[in-house]
Amino acid sequence: MLLKKNRYWAALMMGIFLVMPNTAYAMHIMEGFLPVKWCLVWAVLTVPFIIWGLISIQKIIQKDPKFKMLLGLAGAFVFVLSALKIPSVTGSCSHPTGVGLGAILFGPTTMSVLGCIVLIFQAILLAHGGITTLGANTFSMGVVGPFASYIVYRLVKKMGGPQWLAVFLAASLGDVLTYVTTSFQLALAFPAETGGIVASLTKFMGVFALTQIPLAISEGLLTVFVFNLLTSY
């Protein structure tokens, strides 16, 4: 009943978890790792998205005050998801990602705000990521990931692809692109002595993005599965 009444919210809420790539916090850039210059650059690039997000949230809240509580719970939900461990083939565990549908249903800008808040608490409460690297991490997890997923989902749908494929691709590509961004951020900050940024990017991509591909696939599958379950309710 609740869900029927609030289809729209339900969709939004779901969006949140799908869009937030929480995969392995070990992959957040840690405190102190980036030079001051890059901390500032990424923070400056991220802030407009946060403001954009806050403005769009504010608009919805004016029409519907309950939306604030929903977002609060949604943020907490995203945090919890990032703490979950999903079963994986190797027996070891990875963290559920959700680059996907959510951005589409929720609007990627809103996700930037929640992503930033979740990253703050991951830093303060879990020591994953950091305060000085908050800008860079929010940019990869809260801006690039959600926007990528959003665009991928829209494209697949436009080309007439099935729902599950759109969900799957949005989730897994959003995930991968997040880590590609992280690799870029690291490469820009630490260019190689020989070969410069390009050589460095190759190294970081190999370590930070390629290794994510199996995880991205399994999390894409989980997202499709969750999506199906949710629509059956």
């Binding site: 009943m1 379950l229 059956s232 309710y233």
Partner: protein, 284 residues
């Protein structure tokens, strides 16, 4: 087979931040009996129960199931949990499937039974808990009491040797409480050992074969209900009250209304019967 189905030896447990929850807890639970574990909130009842199904691993000490020491490997935990069922206090966190039928079939399917057998066991569990009519309902549309029944059916469908329940009657109205207790008696009569944690002394006194009193992470007393609840000092110590039936019976004896040496009543019904019996005598 031995009389003890589960046994804990010198259990210690503390959280990573140093809070000690269990300290040197040793106790044995007898096969086929109804055991109630009593204690105030925060004495470690739930923590202890979670040790019995291997969800929590003691920092020191051992758990035995059917004389076998519980190992914490994946396979031996699976084996343990296929024999020992656990019903959580809040049914909302236990029920996670979309429909009642799916919900109850979750456990049996995980046991790897044939579809045939799963169907049979689910049907049986629903019948025993008197919830067959709910089988196609979405779980979230059930009332609290119905959810509680389904959470018991969940576990029953796995045909466990032991069922452990954490506060099974909390937040239930009197009718559902009676319903659940009758159900547990029924389950026990079919040969299943039933263990529950509760802080309802009246209920525990009337229902259990064996009472354990827990305080500060240790079981300070184990015995039959009458023996345990006659010990005023013990009750005081563990901030429990005396069961009303026993209390009033004592007072009536003490004040000469009832003779000494008669069978101590366990339920309201039994007490009323005694009152009726001796009333007649006194009127002669």
């Amino acid at each position: 087979m031995s009389v003890n189905v589960l046994e804990a030896q010198h259990l210690y447990f503390s959280y990573p931040d140093g809070t000690i929850v269990l300290r040197d807890l040793s106790v044995a639970i007898e096969r086929g009996k109804k055991t109630a574990i009593l204690g105030a909130n925060g004495t470690g009842k739930s923590t202890f129960l979670l040790h019995l199904i291997g969800t929590l691993k003691p920092s020191k000490g051992k758990i035995f199931f059917n004389q076998q020491e519980v190992q914490y490997s994946r396979t031996s935990l699976l084996a343990l949990r296929s024999k020992v069922g656990f019903v959580f206090q809040d049914p909302d966190t236990q029920l996670f499937s979309a429909s009642v039928w799916q919900e109850v079939s979750f456990g049996p399917l995980n046991l790897g039974w044939t579809e045939e057998k799963v169907k049979e066991m689910v049907t049986k569990a629903l019948r025993i808990t008197d919830t067959t009519h709910l089988k196609d309902r979405p779980t979230h549309s059930l009332s609290y009491g119905q959810k509680k029944l389904i959470s018991i059916a969940d576990v029953l469908a796995m045909e466990p040797e032991v069922i452990i329940l954490d506060e099974p009657t909390a937040s239930l109205d009197p009718q559902y409480t009676i319903h659940i207790l009758n159900l547990l008696n029924e389950i026990n009569k079919r040969g299943t050992t039933v263990i529950m944690a509760t802080h309802d002394v009246d209920m525990a006194y009337a229902w259990a074969d064996s009472i354990m009193i827990m305080k500060d992470g240790i079981i300070i007393k184990k015995g039959n209900p009458v023996e345990v609840f006659l010990d005023d000092e013990l009750l005081n110590q563990s901030s429990l009250t005396k069961p009303f039936v026993l209390d009033i019976f004592n007072k009536l004896q003490l004040n000469g209304y009832l003779p000494e040496g008669i069978t101590i009543p366990r339920s309201r019904q039994q007490l009323f019967e005694i009152i009726g019996r001796y009333a007649k005598n006194s009127r002669l």
